[in-house]
């Protein structure tokens, strides 16, 4: 693990030495996030989002555990218990709004983290495992967030649960049985609510465990960097501490400022008013929508409105929705261009921006009513999404012309370009600087 020039852990304090001799945790921390982990020196702010995601998880776990001291997961009292928290529990309003908006912050940060990976080719060899574990974390996050939103037992909680668990009935033959098994009944009710609470409490700790694997897998090859060129020597790196602890500390400050603005001044902006109405199985809301971070996938789900060759549209939508995430697992093999970073792949870069806009469009459609023109726009946007990953990227990898890479990180940094495109150097020339 790591590089041969990495600093070695030398405990100065006798207590630390005593602990380390018996349980090498201090040296583990030192080698993972301390001065013992060399990191490329040219990382930009897009590399902050991993740590911020970890911070968001800690915030969710802490506020969640504390909320669970007051929440009651029984259909008859759940809604009232949340209002009890908001009104009577000391600083309950703060904890509840922190947890609800913290979930949104978690997804904002994770989406930026994922898109960093997409642009800079972080998913490519030898970091495929980091990418795969990351997708597992993303799936667990989505399950956790979905179940968490059901817990207040508002109208959107109930009807969102109804729609999503209803999707399972689309599976041929075994669908309805699976749906009943999931719900413990025929519709979301007390059985579903209680088990969702249990699993919602459990999954974040599973996420934490997968994050440890995710970081471990990363630390084998070490972090990538904006040039996509591997670390060649000690001049390419700086120790994680204090360089990136300082940078991450600053980044955390910016994160918390945005979080505070949301929490204290617009706590219901990202939510839906209907969830302040107690769940009513007899009254469907005018427009059922999930939380904003699910909107792109919801748009893909609803885009399929026509039965094809006897396959019901509902099933097609379900397959496409799950498929849109599953295909990401194959990305390292779909896009096997040897050039990692989008900085050196101009055609790839153009398509990347189109993808970003496409996902934003899908998101907007997902939050809109299932009417025209949103339905047609979703269909076109979904078509592009699948075309991008399944057709365009594989073809690009084969056909594109890439820009010449810098010979090393240091060269890129010293040329003042920090990983942006170089105009004169060719890949095979000796490392003479151009200035």
């Amino acid at each position: 693990m790591s590089f041969p020039w990495a600093n070695h852990y030398e405990p100065k304090h006798p207590l630390m030495k005593w602990v380390d001799d018996r349980l090498p945790l201090p040296r583990l921390v030192y080698n993972a996030v301390g001065a013992g982990y060399p990191v490329p020196r040219n990382l930009n702010y897009f590399w902050n989002f991993g740590v911020l995601a970890g911070l968001a998880l800690v915030i969710q776990i802490v506020t969640g555990i504390v909320l669970a001291m007051h929440y009651a997961a029984n259909a008859g009292v759940a809604f009232n218990s949340v209002e009890h928290i908001m009104r009577d529990v000391n600083q309950g309003w703060l904890l509840r709004y922190a947890h609800a908006n913290g979930a949104s912050m978690f997804f904002i940060v994770v989406y930026l983290h994922i898109f960093r990976g997409l642009y800079y080719g972080s998913y490519k060899a030898p970091r495929e495992m980091v990418w795969l574990l990351g997708l597992v974390i993303f799936l667990l996050m989505m399950a956790t967030a979905f179940m968490g939103y059901v817990l207040p037992w508002g109208q959107m909680s109930f009807w969102g649960a109804k729609v999503i668990t209803g999707l399972f009935s689309a599976i041929p033959l075994v669908g309805p049985t699976i749906q009943e098994w999931l719900l413990g009944g025929f519709a979301p009710d007390n059985a579903a609510l209680n088990r969702f609470f249990s699993l919602h409490y459990l999954l974040p700790f599973v996420i934490a465990a997968v994050i440890i694997l995710h970081i471990w897998a990363l630390h084998i090859p070490g972090s990538s960097n904006p040039t996509g060129v591997e670390v060649k020597g000690p001049q390419d790196t700086v120790p994680f501490h204090p360089y990136y602890t300082a940078k991450d500390g600053f980044g955390a400050g910016v994160f918390l400022v945005i979080f505070a603005l949301l929490l204290f001044f617009a706590p219901n902006f990202l939510g839906h008013p209907d969830n302040y109405i107690p769940a009513n199985p007899l009254s469907t809301p005018a427009h059922i929508v999930p939380e904003w971070y699910f909107w792109p996938f919801y748009a893909i789900l609803r885009a399929f409105t026509v039965d094809i060759f006897g396959i019901p549209a509902k099933l097609l939508g379900v397959i496409a929705m799950f498929g849109s995430i599953i295909l990401l697992f194959f990305l390292p093999w779909l896009d096997n261009s040897p050039v990692r970073s989008g900085n050196y792949r101009p055609r790839f870069r153009q398509f990347f921006w189109i993808l970003c806009i496409d996902v934003l469009i899908l998101g907007y459609c997902g939050g809109s009513p299932a009417e025209e023109p949103y339905v047609m726009i979703s269909q076109l946007a979904a078509a592009y999404y699948f075309a991008h990953f399944l057709i365009i990227l594989p073809l690009l990898a084969k056909l594109e012309t890439t820009l010449p890479l810098p010979n090393s990180i240091t060269e890129a940094v010293l040329d003042g370009q920090s990983g942006s495109t170089l105009s004169t150097n060719t890949q095979s020339a000796p490392s003479a600087p151009s200035h």
């Binding site: 020196r41 040219n42 990382l43 009232n80 209002e83 908001m86 009104r87 309003w93 703060l94 709004y97 700086v238 204090p242 360089y243 300082a246 940078k247 500390g249 600053f250 400050g253 910016v254 918390l256 400022v257 505070a260 603005l261 929490l263 204290f264 001044f265 706590p267 219901n268 008013p273 209907d274 302040y276 109405i277 005018a286 885009a303 399929f304 409105t305 026509v306 094809i308 097609l316 498929g323 295909l327 194959f330 093999w333 779909l334 096997n336 025209e372 047609m376 269909q379 076109l380 979904a382 078509a383 699948f386 075309a387 990953f389 399944l390 057709i391 594989p394 940094v413 010293l414 920090s418």
Partner: protein, 287 residues
């Protein structure tokens, strides 16, 4: 192996979606969806200025007390407020003895049990009690209101888009359907002759489906005689009840704003210090 399969799958998805789009486009052109009466005539809430607006907003306690009076005298006969406790009224400026009196004299009593016979009974409310429901259950509520269920108002200001603005617009928004026109000048009953408001409902363009079961609750100026002497026009009463219902939904708004300012100032300073420390650590290191 992955790539050819991937390309095939991709072509499959794209083909299905393009087929769907074209089919949908053909259907849309051939038979464009008809505009609905709700879409054409529903009005969005009008703006409403309250003291609690903005990141530094605070409640106007006088207004909240007036709004409470409107709730008490106009709304509470049908609408519960069961997430709010009587003791919460101390937050809007009532003293403890006043709150005790309000609870004790509240027209609706709290369910209880006769200590001698065990039969269901009622007792006078205490400050610790939540506002009791005017009806024993949903069935009773519907039976007394022409099968309509008057919703609980504790969270109404957060449970509707537009919040207090929606409430104010709704309460002042009852209109005569005959001759009602939208801003394009289209007359409702001419365009949609089948959309006549049923006899048991009332036309209100601010309500989602335009016809609301609640008859206009504020019908005349001076319906409530304000304790503080403010002139009780319909608009004033509607504004005051909207402010009160916002407080009922968000009693912690002021704490939230105050804490938010303090936290934000702290974080901005901390982030700035963090930035300086970051630059200090990295000074002289090319990156």
């Amino acid at each position: 192996m992955v790539r050819p399969l991937g390309i095939l799958a991709g072509l499959g998805f794209v083909a299905i979606l393009l087929f769907t789009v074209i089919k949908g486009a053909v259907a849309y052109i051939g038979e464009p969806p008809a505009p609905t009466v709700e879409h054409e005539f529903h009005l969005h809430p009008r703006p409403l200025e309250l003291a609690s607006d903005g990141p530094l907003g605070r409640y106007d306690r006088q207004q909240l007390q007036r709004g409470f009076q409107v709730y008490k005298e106009v709304c509470s006969a049908c609408h519960s407020l069961h997430q709010v406790s009587f003791r919460d009224l101390t937050q809007i400026g009532f003293t403890d003895p006043e709150v005790k009196a309000i609870a004790n004299q509240w027209a609706i009593e709290v369910p209880s049990v006769n200590p001698d016979t065990g039969e269901p009974a009622t007792r006078k409310a205490l400050p610790a009690d939540k506002f009791p429901d005017p009806y024993a259950n949903e069935t009773a509520a519907r039976a007394a209101n022409n099968n309509a269920l008057p919703p609980d108002l504790s969270l109404m200001a957060k449970a509707r888009h537009g919040g207090p603005e929606y409430i104010h617009s709704l309460l002042t928004g009852y209109r005569d359907q005959a001759g009602f026109k939208n801003e394009k000048g289209v007359e409702l009953l001419k365009e949609f002759p089948d959309a006549k408001t049923p006899a048991s409902l009332h036309f209100n363009p601010y309500f989602a489906n335009l016809n609301i079961a609640m008859p206009p609750p504020l019908v005349a100026d001076g319906q409530v005689t304000y304790a503080d002497g403010t002139k009780a026009t319909i608009d004033q009463m509607a504004t005051d009840i909207s402010a009160f219902l916002l407080w009922a939904a968000e009693p912690k708004l002021e704490n939230r704003h105050r804490t938010g300012v303090a936290v934000l100032i702290f974080l901005l300073i901390a982030t700035f210090l963090g930035f300086l420390a970051y630059r200090n650590v990295w000074s002289g290191v090319k990156h």
